[in-house]
Every structure is written in structure tokens, then in C-alpha cells.
Symmetry: C2
């Protein structure tokens, strides 16, 4: 007897069986189609790169999350990609450095990380995204948020919510009206993350207290944020958010959590998180940033549709199957396939239409329900 555990997959890795694979494929294509329709050209970077090339375009901490190994060809360290945004940034800065700006690129592919976590034990994910390279304006941000919504809606998501954030908010305030030195800045950020009013005051961030309450439904939260901004240092940011919100005009429920930082460490003035009804956790996020290594401004989003696949796979249609008996009419089968039928040909007398999941059988050149 063989050891059944030898067929197990490593923790956090899984096979997609037909229903799940069909959902993932349909969702990936719908998202790529939506991005393509808005002028975003797909690029396909490799699974593996030099660790150094990836790490200099992302924070050092992130490289610790990558699977790494030595390249026998170069004797340098390679890494399995954990994020395709970094790769698209590299492409924009190298192979497409002479392409006109703004440059619109999109991508879809598998990414892996060395450890999962409690909230998200998966170590492999499908990542799908778009990058608008050369611009980080309000107009760019508006296009990107709208496109992210269009992409997830094309994939079948409904009840979309978008949570806005201002990733450089604390820095902007600390450099301006509410001064904080480096150490205090870190402490204030930490207390804002946990929304702990007492801790915030203790950390020397009493001026920042109102930020804790400038959250929730977008227009009222933006009002509160505006009220706090007596110096006007946030005026263009708040105005930018309002213009994006106006542009979205009811397409999504909008909220604001201006001091939300988690996952926005590399964004500049604007960030957003996307949610959909009946989909666990967040569906993706995006914002404005500078491409690591080239410092070109850019705006983009990444979607991680795993939970959307989970939500949709049970009802995913694989297409009705038509059984082709032995000695069937081949041109008739060709014609039915061209119409969209999926055929299953008998290989010998033992093959049975119903057992093989067919709902129809080819009879007299036409599909007949079983």
C-alpha cells in the first residue's frame, strides 16, 4: 500500500478542479477583457527573476516573502514572483521605457509567497491588474478606480464598495500643521491603525484625534476631514477624492478611512480598497505610487479574485455536453461544436452518455436531450 499523504499538496496550495478552474478562467478573462477594452495592453513577465531586481523595486521586507533559490546558470539568487506590479514597473522602465506616456498595461498570472497567514492561508494567488504609467493625477486615479470596478463587475461581482484612503496623510499633516518628529510619527501611525484615542494622545498625537472619527460613509467623512484641515494642507487631496467620488456617481458604495495604511505603504496621495457583496475579504486595492527604481509616477490596481472564484464556482456553468455515439456523423459534430456544443465521443461500446455527464446525444445529425 502506498502512503496516501505523499499525494497531499503543501499547506496553502491547491488544485483547481473543473468547476473552480472554469470560474477562475472566466473571471480572469472577463477582467482582462475589461482592461483591454479601456486601452490597457497585456504584458506577460516571467515567473522568476533575479531577487535583487525584484527587491530593489519593492520594500526589503517583501523579498523575505518570496520563494528564493540559487540559479545554477548565474550563481545569483532568483525569486519566484510574489507580486506582478513590480514586474510591470520594471517593464515600463526597461523594455517599454520609450513607449509614449501615459502607458496603459495590464496583467494576469499566478504569484506565490513563502508563507500564508491566518487571514489568508493561500500561498499561491491569481493576481490580475492594470497600471497607468506616467500619471498619478486625480484623472488617472478616477480612471483606475472606475476600471477596477468595471473589471470586477465584468467578472460577475455585485454590490461593490470602495474604501478610499490618503496614504501620505500623516506625513502631510506632520510636515505641516501638526508637527511630529520621526519617532512620534511612527507611534501616531501605529495608534491610528488601531484607532486607539487614548494611545494616540499618549503618543503625542492629540491633534490627530479627529482623524479617528473622519471615517465611514464618504461624503460625511470627507466633511469631517475637511473640518479638521484648518490649514488647508489637505485641500487638494480632499477635493481630488470628491472629484473621484462624483465620477463614480452611484456605481459603488463609497467610504473613507483616511488614515488606513495597511497595504498602502508604497502609495502616495491616493489609495483604495475594493469589496464586493458575498465575497469574503477584500477583492483588490490600488492607488497612486512611484515606480521603484525609476521614480516615474503611476496609478494602478491589483485584484486577487480567489474569494470571488470561491463564491461563484458552485454555480459555474461548464457547458452542456453532447454525446457522440460510435460511428457518429463527424461533420454534424463539427457543426454543433461550432455552435458552442461541447462533444464527448464514445471510444468503445462501454461508454455511456449519462455516466459521462452528457445531457444530449447526437441523433440524426442533431442534438437530442437524453
Amino acid at each position: 500500500m502506498t502512503d496516501p499523504t505523499q499525494d497531499l499538496l503543501p499547506e496553502g496550495l491547491e488544485d483547481r478542479l473543473p468547476q473552480s478552474a472554469a470560474a477562475a478562467t472566466r473571471i480572469e478573462r472577463a477582467m482582462l477583457q475589461a482592461m483591454g477594452a479601456h486601452g490597457y495592453d497585456r504584458v506577460r513577465p516571467p515567473l522568476i527573476e533575479f531577487e535583487q531586481s525584484m527587491s530593489r523595486r519593492m520594500d526589503g521586507v517583501m523579498t523575505r516573502h518570496m520563494f528564493r533559490f540559487t540559479d545554477p546558470a548565474s550563481l545569483r539568487t532568483l525569486a519566484l514572483r510574489s507580486d506582478m506590479t513590480v514586474q510591470v514597473g520594471r517593464i515600463a522602465a526597461t523594455g517599454l521605457c520609450d513607449a509614449p506616456r501615459p502607458l496603459r498595461l495590464c496583467y494576469a498570472g499566478q504569484v506565490a509567497r513563502i508563507r500564508g497567514d491566518t487571514l489568508e492561508p493561500r500561498r499561491e494567488n491569481l493576481q490580475v491588474g492594470a497600471e497607468l504609467i506616467g500619471r498619478d493625477t486625480v484623472e488617472a486615479a478616477g480612471e483606475i478606480v472606475e476600471l477596477a470596478i468595471a473589471a470586477v463587475e465584468a467578472a460577475g461581482a455585485t454590490g461593490i464598495s470602495v474604501d478610499f484612503t490618503l496614504p501620505d496623510l500623516v506625513d502631510t499633516l506632520a510636515d505641516g500643521p501638526f508637527p511630529l518628529d520621526g519617532e512620534a510619527r511612527k507611534r501616531v501611525r501605529r495608534e491610528l491603525d488601531t484607532k486607539d484615542a487614548g494611545g494616540l494622545v499618549e503618543a503625542g498625537g492629540a491633534d490627530y484625534l479627529a482623524l479617528i472619527h473622519a471615517t465611514g460613509e464618504f461624503s460625511s467623512a470627507a466633511e469631517k476631514l475637511s473640518a479638521l484641515d484648518t490649514s488647508g494642507v489637505l485641500e487638494t487631496r480632499i477635493e481630488g477624492l470628491r472629484r473621484i467620488a462624483k465620477r463614480l456617481n452611484g456605481r459603488a458604495r463609497l467610504t473613507l478611512d483616511p488614515s488606513e495604511r495597511h497595504g498602502f505603504e508604497y502609495q502616495s496621495w491616493f489609495g483604495f480598497t475594493l469589496y464586493a457583496e458575498n465575497v469574503r475579504g477584500e477583492l483588490g486595492r490600488g492607488g497612486t505610487y512611484c515606480i521603484g527604481g525609476s521614480d516615474e509616477p503611476a496609478t494602478g490596481f491589483s485584484l486577487y479574485p480567489e474569494e470571488l472564484v470561491e463564491a461563484m464556482k458552485a454555480s459555474e456553468k461548464l457547458g452542456a455536453k453532447l454525446f457522440l455515439p460510435l460511428g457518429h456523423d463527424c461533420p454534424a459534430a463539427d457543426a454543433l461544436r461550432a455552435e458552442g456544443w461541447r462533444t464527448v465521443a464514445a471510444l468503445d461500446e462501454s461508454d455511456d452518455a449519462a455516466t459521462l455527464g452528457c445531457t444530449h446525444v447526437l441523433d440524426g445529425g442533431a442534438a437530442k436531450a437524453l
Copy 2:
């Protein structure tokens, strides 16, 4: 100044820029569509597995070709997949062990290997394939060859050639009319590989000489092979090949190289290699085999469309782009996207339609050529 070499990709790995990515995406989808239409359900195995789980389903030598690394979660060795056939075999033997047979599965994904070679320096490849699990009969082989042709034709390949082989030919003859012991068998195989008549005689394989000439155009080569088979031990195999050839009926140029072994080490009675006009090297291969670990019979093929992408990328159409001026009519743009237009929206006054690769501009609610 930054070091420009830090942006280089490792040897044998490359980015697909828009033309190449569009060709790869179209080709991959066309192949998946053809396989889906013949009743093959897609599965999506993970990028990474336990090395042991992969290696016990493939020859030990092959695992040396895989990128390997230690899993911090299990402390076991993981491998980046170098072949998806092995993974589909595992799925058939585990997650889908209770699914009715014959089981039709297909797949498409990136695979990587640790070293390229002179003929094929790429270390990452797109692999696309189909597996018919539970059967290795002439009918199964016929369906699989026909499907492989349909898949590459759907992807745009023309002038298809199929080269048949009989992977267990030497074993069948050596166990029967032309006995050879283990050592002599190896030597005879080696000399047949190089088609060296003198070497073959020296290796004790004089009986096998005629095999060197039973190659080329299918019907005449099959005649020669049949003439050599006085004991009749190859009769069912030759008859099987003839039935497959008849079934293909002019859809491809057919040749026979009965003792070809390269890449068919794990096939049983039947193997084939696929070529297309204007595509360098082989496009794919397939045959009958036993699934490693479960010993279930199966028939399948793997396509490696990299060179087809190379041949087609220059003429790949990315779709005409329609420029949307500032303050454009959004519902009109939605309608044109729904018709298949790709739009590029102006973000500010500096954006120029022609510079951004647009051939048309939205004017009065309609697409107008620039």
C-alpha cells in the same frame, strides 16, 4: 548612475511585451477552446508541489531539472513545476479518482526548468495539453492526435505534420522474435537513435537493421515495418497506426519513425510529434502511457507554443484604439466598447490621439478615423 545590468532578466527568461503577450494569450485560449469543445474540462494545478510527489510520478532524472527549495512550513523540499502532465495525472489519481472514466482533462500554464539547452535555451515555457485518462486504445490515440491537430490549427498553425513512433518497439521485438538481453537492448536502442547501421550490427542488432529504413512517409514506412515483422508481433501496433492515419485522412502530412525514442521514454505503444509550417522545432508531442503512481492507462499530448508565438507575434492584431477626448460622451464610449472598440481616454490636454496609438477618435458619439 544605476547599474543597467540589474534590470536584466536571468538567462532563458523573458518578458512578453504587448504583441507577444497578445499572441500567447490568443493561442492559449484557442487551444483551450478547442479542447473544451471536445469535452475536456480544464484543471488548474498549483505552481509548486512537494518534490517527492512530483518525482514519484516522473523519472528521477527529470526532478533534477526542477527548481527546488525548502518549504519553511513543512521543512520538506518543494519544486516549481516543470511539467503539468504529472500534475494532471496526480489530480486524476486523487481529487478526481472517483470521476467516471474515460476522464477528459485539459490544462494550460507556465512551467519552468532549472537549465535550458542549446536547442531550447528557454527556461520558462507555456505548456498546454489534454489527457484522456482511463484509455490507451487505438480510438483514444486517434482522438488525441486529432484533437492535438485541431488545437494547433485553432491557434493558427498551418501545414501540420505528424510523426508517429512506437515507443516500446525495441522491447516488443527483443522480448519476441529478435531477442536481446538488457545490456544489448540499451546498446541497440542507442545505435537506432543515431541510425548507425554499422554500430547496430556491432551492438548485436543485425535483426534490427531494417528499422533504420522503415522511416519517412507513413504508408511506405508502415509497409517496410510490416515486411520486417514476419513473426506478427507488431501486427496490432501497425494496424493501430494505420487506423489512426486513415482517421486523419489528409488533415496532416504523416510520417513514421518507429524507433524514435527521444522524449517518449514514458510512453507505451504509441507516440507522436507535431510540427507546423514556419514554426521552428516541434510544436508538441503525445502518446499512450501509464499514470505514474496509479498505473492507470492514459493518452494525451503536450503543446509548447513558444515558437508558434514567435512566428505569429509580429502580425498579431491588438485591436484598433479609439481616442476619447476630455469631457467625452461616456455612454457613447460604453456603447463602442460593447461593440469591440478599445478606448483610450484623455487624462489631460497633453494627451494626443496619434501619439497614444489611436487610429480613431470619438466625435459626435461615433468613431471617426484620424
